[in-house]
């Protein structure tokens, strides 16, 4: 499908009122609510909150036009700590609630904060349908691969064999890869980042906020209480280099230190395989193209990850422009009103109620 120009806005925040040019610049403080933050000490959520609070001023939006909607779980407490409008809703339903809000209020920047259990287990249906419809939302999915708030059961992203309170012999569930799932649902913006890499996190938030349509950002987040060190292999400076795959648009996909660099190529069967950089045939080298409309390569990239964080792609997998659901819904209402000469008057309502077949008594 090609991008169809319907004269619709192309930035995620294009229709949201901005601060006047001469207004004093916002600071992190403007986005910090008076509520005491109550995550466990050392929780990755703190870092994400701080990053979001310091990033939001950059958007230059009127803060009353920003809304955070969350579901249930540790991460879903997020809205309470931001001095914007917010709703802490019920388990799994935030994307549905946010869809109703975004569709009816073009002037709002709507964010969803969710976790792996909230988004992928109880709320899986709403997540895939928000992605399919391409509602103008930015979804931050904190993935700690465990149920934190309910005290440590395995989640839909926990690795197979994981021993938890509810899986004493090891989990027999196959985990979801949230990026693969989002791409399978034809998400128009799908990215992955990590709590500990503040610079990268903010870069991704910037791109996600600018995207018009559903932006799904998976954020690896450490839960020191119930799943400590889940991402240590890719956080550890020494190990990181051999495991983290930084996706750069227009660049080959590579991993490893300079002396031991591997490059991703397509083999004869079309599969993606790692080969030492020197042996990579230029015509076989995989060039990352997040702007490709066909999500196939982005999906393939999401699958190069091994079971134990052997190769973890980070960055933007896909970023394409498609018409958004809420713009489409509003366009239909507007077109119907324009065709009828503007918003309905009392006389229009009278005519509707009367209909075509009437009779008069008296």
């Amino acid at each position: 499908m090609n991008v169809i120009d319907l004269g619709m806005p192309t930035s995620g925040i294009a229709s949201v009122p901005h601060l006047p040019q001469d207004a004093p610049a916002q600071t992190k403080r403007d986005f910090t609510s008076d509520q005491e933050v109550r995550w466990c000490p050392g929780c990755g959520d703190y870092i994400i909150l701080a990053a979001v609070q310091s990033f939001l001023p950059e958007l230059g939006l009127r803060k009353e036009n920003i809304v955070f909607v969350s579901g249930i779980g540790c991460s879903s407490r997020f809205p309470y700590y931001l001095d914007t409008y917010g709703m802490h809703s019920i388990h799994g339903r935030a994307p549905a609630i946010a869809t109703g809000l975004a569709a009816s209020r073009e002037d709002l920047s709507v964010w969803v904060v969710t976790g792996d259990g909230d988004a992928l287990s109880i709320g899986g249906n709403h997540l895939i349908h928000a992605l399919r419809r391409n509602v103008n939302l930015t979804i931050l999915l904190f993935n700690n691969r465990i149920y934190g708030l309910t005290k440590g059961q395995y989640s839909p992203t926990s690795e197979e064999g994981k021993i938890t309170k509810s899986s004493p012999l090891g989990s027999v569930d196959h985990p979801f890869n949230p990026v693969s799932l989002a791409l399978g649902a034809e998400g128009t913006f799908v990215a992955r980042t990590m709590d500990s890499d503040r610079k990268h996190l903010i870069e991704i938030l910037r791109a996600a906020a600018a995207h018009r349509g559903t932006a799904l950002v998976e954020i690896y987040q450490n839960c020191p209480i119930f799943n400590d060190g889940a991402f240590d292999l890719i956080k550890d400076r020494e190990q990181q280099e051999a495991r983290l795959v930084h996706l750069e648009p227009g660049q080959p996909v590579r991993v490893g230190a300079e002396d031991d660099r591997q490059t991703l190529v397509r083999d004869d069967t079309g599969d993606l395989v790692w080969v030492p950089e020197a042996r990579a045939r230029p015509d076989r080298v995989v060039i990352h193209d997040p702007y490709a409309d066909d999500p196939a390569q982005a999906f393939a990239l999401s699958r190069i990850e091994g079971p134990s964080l052997t190769h973890v792609p980070m960055g933007i997998f896909r970023s394409v422009e498609h018409t958004t659901y809420d713009d489409g819904v509003r366009a239909q209402v507007r077109a119907a009103q324009d065709a009828a000469g503007g918003p309905a008057t009392d006389a229009d309502l009278d005519a509707l109620l009367l209909g075509r077949d009437t009779w008069t008594v008296g």
Binding site: I90, H129, G355
Partner: protein, 623 residues
Amino acid sequence: MSSKTVKQLDRVVIRFAGDSGDGMQLTGDRFTSETATLGNDLSTLPNFPAEIRAPQGTLPGVSSFQLHFADHDVMTPGDAPDVLVAMNPAALKANLRDLPRGAVVIVDTDEFTKRNLAKVGYDSNPLEDGSLDSWHLHDVPLTSITVEALSEFTGLTRKEKERAKNMFALGLLSWLYNRPTDGTEAFLERKFGAKPEILAANLAALRAGWNYGETTEGFAVSYEVAPAAMPKGTYRNVTGNTALAYGMVAAAHRAGLPLVLGSYPITPASDILHTLSGLKRFGVTTIQAEDEIAGVGIALGASFGGAIGLTTTSGPGLALKAETIGLAVSLELPLVVVDVQRGGPSTGLPTKTEQSDLLQAMFGRNGESPVAVLAPRSPVDCFATAVEAVRIATTYRTPVIVLSDGYLANGSEPWQVPTTGELPDLTVEFATAPNATDEKGNPVFHAFQRDEATLARPWAVPGTPGLEHRIGGIEKADVTGNISYDPDNHDRMVRLRAAKIAGIADTIAPLAVDDPSGQAEVLVLGWGSTYGPIAAAVRAVRNTGARVATAHLRHLNPFPANTGEVLRSYRRVIVPEMNTGQLAMLLRARFLVDVRSHTAVRGLPFTTVELADVLVRALEDLS
């Protein structure tokens, strides 16, 4: 006009019955429109199978449409048909038991083949074996005459010609009861405008049916039913689902707010979604959600943003929406939830009517989560009930559950159409400025600082500067709305939410009792769609000189303030319900009055005779 004898009747009940593919609903609809235009009062009852097309010619595949019209006010679609139009043996067999001896039966003899008879277990042909001797039988080869009448239409296949037989039947009935057909002709032109040959064939079949009545000796008499004396005004015919959709649009218009519907298709509520999705011109946004839960979530999200959030469903869907309705209770945001009740439990009887979701609406959520509950009494009343639901939802910042049902949804009756100016002003005031100061004297916004009169909290929509706030399903501190786990605060909040809902009674009319003599000892109290059958039964009993009082509840939570007083002023209170006694249970619990239930769950409305009998027995009991 016919040269045959014309007889005057005061009322007629006709039932059109055929295979679900025979177009009986359409035929019934058109006959109803013709009847409405003549100024008769009327009431209709469609009855169709849950399967879209059950095997042809079988009993489960029978679809019917009953219409009661009269020169006086009509309360019900009628207990028993005076005329049955049976398009095949299955339709005859399925409906004959409802037909009093002496009633008219018009059958399509072409369909009474050996094979079709065998399909429904007729050993011999009832048209020939004398088993229909007690009825007035008109055997008409409907299919073959229709095909014959359309012989000029060489471009149409035999099948296509046969399909026009419902128009032939309509033409015949229109002649028989002197109904004008111009409305149907205009309707056919709209429907088949793009297919001129099909249009012409349908018009020709309609005319052929009319002419058949006029020229055939079998039909010696035609009938007239004079217009009913109805209050002056402009009327149209309307079904409950349409009236409900229009009521929501009208209420949103009077509130000056957009209407946002989140809905998942479900029988028998889907027509509300269909109707509203065609009304974008009125600022209506409809979102066909991925599931029932998303439907109500979308509505609630829109309410948070300052729209009128609406979700429509039937019983199984209400169960799925329960948690989100609980969230709306806790958030104290307006929300309208329409449950078009059907037979349950589980999938139950999807196309049949029942009133068995009352207790689900009242209590079907976790925790103490009171909501307002309303029920329309008739198809027309769905309009006013929707307007009332929006008034309560926006004034009290609460979910309101509207309990319609399958009978109201698909049934129709004449509606004296109101003008916009006659509708209540539902203007909503959003919060625009801080409503408190903090300890340092700075202006702040307290999201749960209540209005003294209504106990409603402010509705502060995103986009309002200075009122940024967070709400959620966790218990909130009274006034500030911040998270609070304090035991006393929770106790206070539970009681405040309950008091808010109870306080709605201050703004609703007292329960009106119809007791002409003022000396009745028996009160019959109903709610929802039993209004018509109860009114008809009460009328029948009063005609015998007996005294019976009647009252009908629209507000089920809270009840009108005088409800207990009314109940206590009668020696016997009868509560008929299409469930096993749900309102009776509420009344007994709430008012300690020994009300007597009369219940039935057959998927059909009560008959007048049945309810009249209940009243007569109650009167005898007391004498």
